[in-house]
């Protein structure tokens, strides 16, 4: 028992070390690129103009609103899909779907105590990684949902909407990072590769594909909730540092 515990602890510390190193390298690499590409703002004519500035608090609020909306829409999409395609007895799978959610390159702390201990930088970066990790799967989900015969329009619209909002959320987080952490980040496609289930050409109505899509939706919903919570914690820290940290 003690050995296993020690092993677990060592694994945890190792994980943390790897994570820190990775982050450092990533940020360094980006810094080397030093290609702080600011967000380009375009007016009606399409020419590039200087972006209007916005205060940090307002930006954070807007980002949080985005995250809240994304989470709510994802929850609605999940429910829609579940009602439409998933047989009733399998509704319990929504809680077990975490089993096959794609893993992140680094573990994101799950407990509140752990989350309270991580720094602002880490919070923001986690959010960014999460956002970037879901961009491709959502596009994939869109295509698969289109193939369904009787997919409701609401579901399709919601999925598309979420994809768009995710892009703007990423932009917002990037700006936040630049403002709060004074770091420049490339808004290029994430370096994280997603291992998606290969499309094997089966008809989408097969239970397997249905379940796979269902799993995708539930995983996304969970991650959206995570993003929202992280951003809210960050907001609390920004406004009232003492009470948020000393919980």
């Amino acid at each position: 028992m003690k050995e296993s515990e020690e092993k677990a602890r060592s694994l945890l510390t190792l994980k943390q070390v790897i994570l820190q190193v990775w982050l450092c390298c990533a940020s360094l690499w980006r810094f080397w690129v030093s290609h702080a590409v600011p967000l380009d703002c375009k007016d009606e004519t399409g020419s590039l103009t200087h972006c209007t500035s916005i205060s940090q608090e307002k930006l954070l609020d807007r980002v949080i609103q985005h995250a809240e909306l994304i989470y709510r829409v994802s929850e609605e999409s999940c429910t829609l899909f579940e009602e439409m395609f998933v047989p009733y007895p399998l509704h319990t799978l929504r809680n077990q779907a975490g089993n096959v959610c794609h893993s992140k390159p680094f573990p994101i702390p799950g407990s509140k105590s752990e989350i309270q201990q991580i720094s602002d930088t880490w919070l923001l970066h986690s959010v960014l990684i999460l956002v970037q990790s879901w961009m491709e799967p959502l596009l994939y989900l869109q295509t698969t949902l289109d193939r369904y015969d009787d997919a409701p329009d609401a579901l399709l619209n919601k999925t598309k909407w979420v994809s768009d909002k995710l892009l703007s959320l990423e932009q917002g987080v990037v700006v936040l990072i630049r403002k709060m952490l004074n770091e420049g980040i490339l808004t290029s496609s994430s370096a994280i590769e997603q291992t998606l289930a290969p499309y094997d050409g089966q008809s989408p109505e097969v239970l397997e594909s249905v379940l796979r899509d269902y799993n995708l939706l539930t995983c996304f919903k969970k991650d959206a909730h995570k993003m929202e919570t992280f951003l809210k914690l960050l907001k609390c820290r920004q406004s009232n540092k003492l009470s948020c940290l000393s919980h």
Partner: protein, 605 residues
């Protein structure tokens, strides 16, 4: 391929295995006695810790503690080994508590209920912590009254609460939404309001005098699991009885007042005449019957002439009264030309020189007694004054009693002036007595006395005199026993009699007498039948009443040409009741008012 196979196997296993376990975490504390040992539920209150409960079920031999054990597994960890429940709660039976360190959000847990000795897994459940969160109920529920409707039947309240202290809403760890429910007390149906993300909610349209129960619960936003309800609070607003009871009372009052007002208006309109008389008594205006007072004031004299002539005041009644006639004794010996000594003087035997006396005729005193004359009323003084001398300034006739200033008074007097100014019937000797017993009345005093002048009986027709203050001579028919005017003379009465030998100075304008119903057109006629002549005071011996003689008629009226219109004699007039003395029959009041000089002038051309 293998992947999909494993997936399907897993799902089937789950299907066959336990069915819908507390995956959603909603089924709680309801152990199924028909089953074997199983989990009854897992709950998290604040998304930081959670608990799980199980039941031995039908397997009663496993109820002792330690027989059943819980193992869990977190699927995101690198290690997927099963660990035992970190904390079996001592105070509560069959509960496994996961504290903060063992709680990982967004990770799926699977727990198993095992009996270690037999190595049998009785139950298994998988979940993620955020999906089993049931927040605590909100605290601090209270209400405040917003307003009460005007009718006092409905009211609105504002309900407030605070988030549960265990939920870390302030940090943003949990986002809660609330749901308020209310119902009338002791009913079964709860009214549910929409989800509210704030900590207050308004409830509209509650009834006064009813007790309401209000409660609130919360859940994580975009999740499905509601927490427990808070304690209910009682909301009650007493009805204000006075408002309701006064409302119809005010209506009744208003309608009552309106009804009374309408009744009053109707009453006034129906009894308008009487009320007018009561409240606004009419002021008697100077009025001559049949003649518009306005016309008298403003009308042309021609019209007035016609009016006056058309007056049938001189009804035979007047004339038919007791034909008392003042007899004027004429002094036939006297020459007709007497200058100052007018006929009147001679008639009356008044000396020319005399102190100016004013004969006061009691014409004013006898108001209202239009047709009757009380012979006693005149003062003896007046009579006496008449006798000796004559008044007047200079050439005034003795009968001139009044000053001119008093004329208008008389003229406008409302009272039925007693026209019966007694005229002294003096046995004056008219100068013109050549034949007849006629005496020409040259003038009339304002008091109604007759001024006689030596006029010609059959004088030439008149010349018209347009001037004002034209003297008017009225031929006077006097009787020795009674003076009558013949028809001729009567005609000439209206004519403008030339002055004649005698001066006619001192003609007094006749005051117009405005007597109600008595208009005297200035003509005196003494007929046998009617005596409406200048009444002569009964100084003369009482004259017997002469029967009406057909030779003499009554001047009925003056027509447009200012000629007298005579009437055939009519029946005997009724005797005035007022006169006690037949000898002196009641003097008729001057039926006609006195004429003003201008009118006089117009009447006789």
């Amino acid at each position: 391929m293998a992947y999909s196979l494993s997936l399907s196997l897993l799902y089937l296993g789950l299907l066959c295995g336990n069915g819908p376990v507390s995956a959603r975490g909603s089924k709680l504390f309801t152990p199924d006695p028909s089953r074997g040992p199983h989990f009854t539920g897992c709950r998290s209150r604040e998304q930081e810790t959670f608990r799980c409960w199980w039941s031995a079920g039908t397997f009663q031999n496993l109820t002792e503690p330690g027989a059943l054990r819980v193992f869990y597994q977190t699927k995101n960890a690198l290690s997927s080994e099963w660990k035992e429940c970190p904390d079996y709660t001592h105070t509560v039976e069959n509960e496994c508590y996961f504290n903060k360190t063992f709680t990982h959000i967004w990770t799926s847990y699977c727990i198993q209920l095992r009996s270690v000795p037999q190595n049998i897994t009785y139950d298994e459940a998988c979940f993620t912590v955020e999906n089993i969160v049931h927040p605590d109920p909100p605290i601090g529920l209270n209400w405040t009254l917003l307003n009460v409707s005007r009718s006092g039947l409905h009211f609105d309240i504002l309900v407030r609460w605070a988030p549960p202290p265990s939920a870390d809403v302030q940090m943003g760890w949990m986002s809660l939404v609330y749901q308020v429910q209310y119902r009338v007390r002791n009913t079964s149906q709860w009214e549910m309001l929409d989800l509210e993300s704030g900590t207050q909610q308004s409830i509209y349209g509650l009834h006064t005098d009813k007790e309401y129960e209000v409660r609130v619960r919360c859940k994580m936003s975009a999740f499905d699991n509601f927490g427990e309800f808070s304690d209910s609070i009682i909301v009650h607003v007493a009805q204000i009885p006075s408002k309701e009871s006064t409302f119809p009372m005010t209506l009744v009052l208003i309608f009552g007042v309106i009804g009374v007002v309408i009744l009053l208006i109707l009453l006034i309109f129906s009894q308008q005449q009487r009320l007018m008389v009561i409240f606004l008594p009419p002021i008697p205006a100077p009025k001559i019957k049949g003649i518009d007072p306005e016309l008298l004031k403003n009308g042309k004299l021609d019209q007035l002439n016609s009016l006056l002539s058309s007056q049938d005041m001189y009804k035979p009644d007047f004339y038919h009264e007791d034909p008392w006639v003042e007899f004027i004794q004429l002094d036939l010996d006297d020459p007709p030309e007497k200058n100052e000594g007018s006929d009147t003087q001679h008639l009356l035997g008044l000396s020319r020189s005399g102190s100016s006396r004013v004969l006061n005729f009691k014409s004013d005193d006898d108001s209202g007694r239009a047709s009757c004359y009380d012979p006693e009323t005149p003062d003896p003084e007046d009579l006496a004054s008449l006798l000796p001398g004559h008044s007047g300034q200079g050439e005034q006739h003795p009968l001139v009693s009044r000053s001119s200033s008093s004329f208008p008074e008389l003229g406008v007097q409302q009272t039925s002036e007693v026209v019966e100014t007694p005229i002294q019937a003096q046995p004056a000797v008219p100068s013109w007595v050549n034949m007849d017993f006629y005496a020409q009345v040259s003038d009339f005093t304002p008091a109604g006395g007759v001024v006689l002048s030596p006029g010609q009986l059959n004088s030439s027709p008149e010349k018209k005199k347009e001037e004002e203050n034209e003297k008017k001579k009225i031929q006077f028919q006097l009787l020795s026993d009674g003076a009558y005017t013949s028809e001729n003379t009567a005609r000439q009465l209206s004519a403008d009699v030339p002055p004649g030998p005698g001066p006619e100075q001192g003609y007094q304008s006749f005051p117009t007498q405005a007597v109600e119903g008595n208009l005297w057109n200035g003509e005196y006629l003494v007929s046998a039948s009617d005596s409406q002549t200048p009444y002569l005071l009964p100084e003369a011996p009482p004259v017997p009443i002469l029967p009406p003689v057909s030779d003499y008629t009554v001047v009925q009226e003056v027509d447009a040409q200012h000629s007298l219109l005579l009437n055939p004699p009519s029946s005997q007039p009724t005797v005035c009741s007022h006169s006690p003395n037949k000898h002196l029959p009641a003097m008729p009041t001057m039926p006609m008012g006195y004429l003003t000089p201008d009118l006089l002038g117009n009447l006789t051309p």
